[in-house]
Symmetry: C2
Subunit: 435 residues, 2 copies
């Protein structure tokens, strides 16, 4: 059988990795796929660099529309990043009856519903293993490996930059700004790190996993997105003393009244496997009714790890390119006419545990005030830690709560901050036992 023909849109880090791995392992890949996979065309802004990278083995153009319109391309691999141009290119590729592979989580989190509907109508595939957790085959696990299950929750460390920063803050007792600067110097964080450190990238990935886990449309606009830039070294240390690690988790969970969809710093018991995922690594923990807990771990970014997922998708598409679309795995795991309209819950309606740090004037009766306010709000306390004064008569009181509704905590915090003995804002970090 003739090789299937692939057009690359973009040949930056992931594109170059895809080209190199496809070339280096072409023999093994052909032995698996039963058919060659050949990059015939590349669109790049820097034509010279692209020509050098590809060694003259494929046509290099600067107009990506030439690739999506080319009869010499069966599968378009979109690796440009961003939203609008990729959206236009992907939709045009689909309109041209081409299959699409993309690593672009932002694109899918925002325009996935439109893109999958178009692909469905045309009977082509849009594959996106590389969009979540880099080289870890978590999309395949959720979409195919766990089809027997009612999935209860997905919780993931799905942004390597922030996990690297948190690991360094904990290991070295440094503050966020210092570690971010180091991470930028080491290439672990971008010059403009906003999307990573503010949780946006993690929320894109979580949105995609949520859709697949629960059979709902992608709904990035409903996600709660909170990063690590406000996290203080003190809280990492206090958490440690209480037996927890702080990770930036993306969490999506089936609750009684809807779906939780939230990214925020989270305390996790230090003994959990996922609490020990360090540096730039990713891990996703899935809870499901039949299988229980499963965890998937690996490199969440980088040239060849991400290329590994791009190429796995290329092999899948190569195999199934000619079959009846009904025989393929649906884009979002559930058949498109079988999606659920269960709502994403507002943050006030989620249920979790909390780490609360209150900075107080060390006065008689303040603990009684705090515990009374929590009791009034129906919040029970699991642990309390009172730390020595930081100069003067002030002290940190840390309370770990049992599970409660977020709105109860909002109300309690408002009352706590109104106490005269309380200084400044209450620090609130959510806590998941993941048991």
């Amino acid at each position: 059988m003739k090789p299937i023909k692939v057009g690359l849109l973009g040949i930056g880090t992931v594109g170059a990795g895809t080209f190199n791995v496809l070339q280096r392992n072409q023999e093994d890949i052909r032995r698996r796929a039963g058919r060659g996979i050949e990059i015939t065309m590349v669109a790049a802004r820097n034509l010279e660099r692209a020509a050098q990278l590809t060694g003259g083995q494929c046509r290099v153009v600067d107009d990506p529309f030439l690739v999506v319109d080319s009869p010499e391309v069966d599968i378009v691999v979109e690796l440009i990043g961003g939203y609008e141009l990729p959206r236009e290119l992907v939709l045009r590729a689909i309109a041209n009856n081409k299959h699409v592979v993309t690593a672009n989580k932002a694109l899918l989190a925002l325009h996935g519903n439109e893109i999958f509907a178009a692909a469905q109508e045309k009977g082509v595939m849009v594959a996106f293993e590389a969009a979540v957790a880099g080289g870890v085959p978590i999309i395949k696990a959720l979409r195919e490996g766990l089809t027997a299950n009612r999935i209860e929750s997905v919780a993931g460390i799905i942004n390597g930059t922030t996990n690297f920063i948190l690991s360094e803050m904990r290991d070295k007792g440094l503050d966020f700004a210092t570690v971010l600067k180091q991470a930028q110097e080491l290439g672990y964080a971008e010059a403009d790190p906003t999307f990573d450190i503010e949780g946006v990238d993690a929320a894109h990935k979580l949105t995609i996993m949520s859709a697949i886990a629960f059979g709902i449309p992608v709904q990035f606009d409903k996600a709660h997105v909170e990063g690590i830039s406000q996290l203080q070294a003190d809280d990492i240390r206090y958490a440690e003393e209480l037996g927890y690690r702080i990770k930036l988790l993306g969490i999506t969970r089936r609750a009684d009244t809807g779906i939780e969809l939230r990214v925020h710093p989270t305390l996790i018991p230090a003994k959990r496997l996922i609490a020990n995922v360090e540096g730039a690594m990713n891990a996703v923990l899935v809870e499901a009714d039949a299988v229980g807990s499963t965890l998937y771990y690996g490199k969440g970014a980088g040239s060849e790890p991400t290329a590994s997922s791009v190429i796995a998708d290329l092999v899948d598409v190569t195999r199934l390119a000619t079959v009846d679309p009904y025989c393929r795995v649906p884009h979002l795991a559930f058949q498109p006419n079988q999606m659920s309209d269960v709502a994403i819950l507002p943050m006030s309606e989620i249920t979790t545990s909390y780490y609360l740090r209150v900075y107080v004037n060390d006065q008689l009766g303040v603990m009684a005030d705090l515990t009374r306010i929590l009791a009034d709000a129906g919040i029970s306390i699991d642990a309390v830690l009172q730390k020595g004064t930081r100069g003067g008569a002030r002290t940190d009181i840390i309370m770990i709560t049992h599970q409660t509704r977020e709105k109860n905590v909002d109300a309690a915090i408002e009352r706590i901050e109104a106490l005269v003995s309380v200084v400044g804002k209450v620090i609130r970090i959510r806590l998941e036992t993941l048991s």
Copy 2:
């Protein structure tokens, strides 16, 4: 579309789990698969129990051949266990143009080549996610998720019974026999635990993963199989002091001259994620050239975790039942005409590091003798630990070596045991850094 019809051979632990999960989650499964999956027929030794379990919803027979011959069955799920009867039933199901799903690692490790060849000829599928690591979708990850990669090694904790025993031995400082007895009482070990504790079960699973990882036939007869029944509490403690945990690992690795295929107790650095997989859990660590390290973790046994994988296979088969066989994933990951004949290495040719414990009369010069013997054999030492005497003038000397060939260690051990100052046999446990 009408439901696809499934016949169960056996309705013990996994069979009952499969029936229950299929029933409980039938709506979610149908929404994913696009078609119902219905158990129409069950073969069981205990007809009464089977009728009770299935609540009269399907035909129950005592002759499994009635199931594999029935026109009312599209997919046969083999859950009988053992070798000969399942082999006969599976081959007959294939001959009858039925697809097969099996959880039977022993069957595939021994008769896989014959079974897959028969299935290939008939154009039917044989799916076996449940045969390795229970509910963890490791077969899918290796076979589909990592198709871009040249896989370098697979190392797994793939037997829950032995991992439970090792966890208990370490936690409580107990010896093997005591913990085995407790495990039997708790139902974590069978009345005849031989297959588990002697590494046979792990070797069955490893044999299957090795075939998929490297594109070679299943070759259980070439596997090195070593269990934990000889493991002493002292060595678990010494390993701990040196920063290691002992796990029963199944390891298969691509070496320069062939493939390593071995199950044995193994020291692993305690800080590795896989070293912290405790109790009856399973985990598989895969090293591959593009993606680097990935790890897959979850329940390796039990009714519903294993059923989760059986049903995932049923969904896959349901989707692809009618497509051209060439469009499906090959049984052993590589196209059947593209298998490699690279040899499995004899144990003397493998390369790893070693923990050696020598029990000596505490005489002047014994350390010099030991280090000279290792140096003569070309083995360099990474660490030495000398422990206080255990009554009298005797002492344990523990040496950790750098990587070397097993035959060098065999030769050195022979010379060490011949020293007059050495008492009894040298304890040798292999060590993997898994870095």
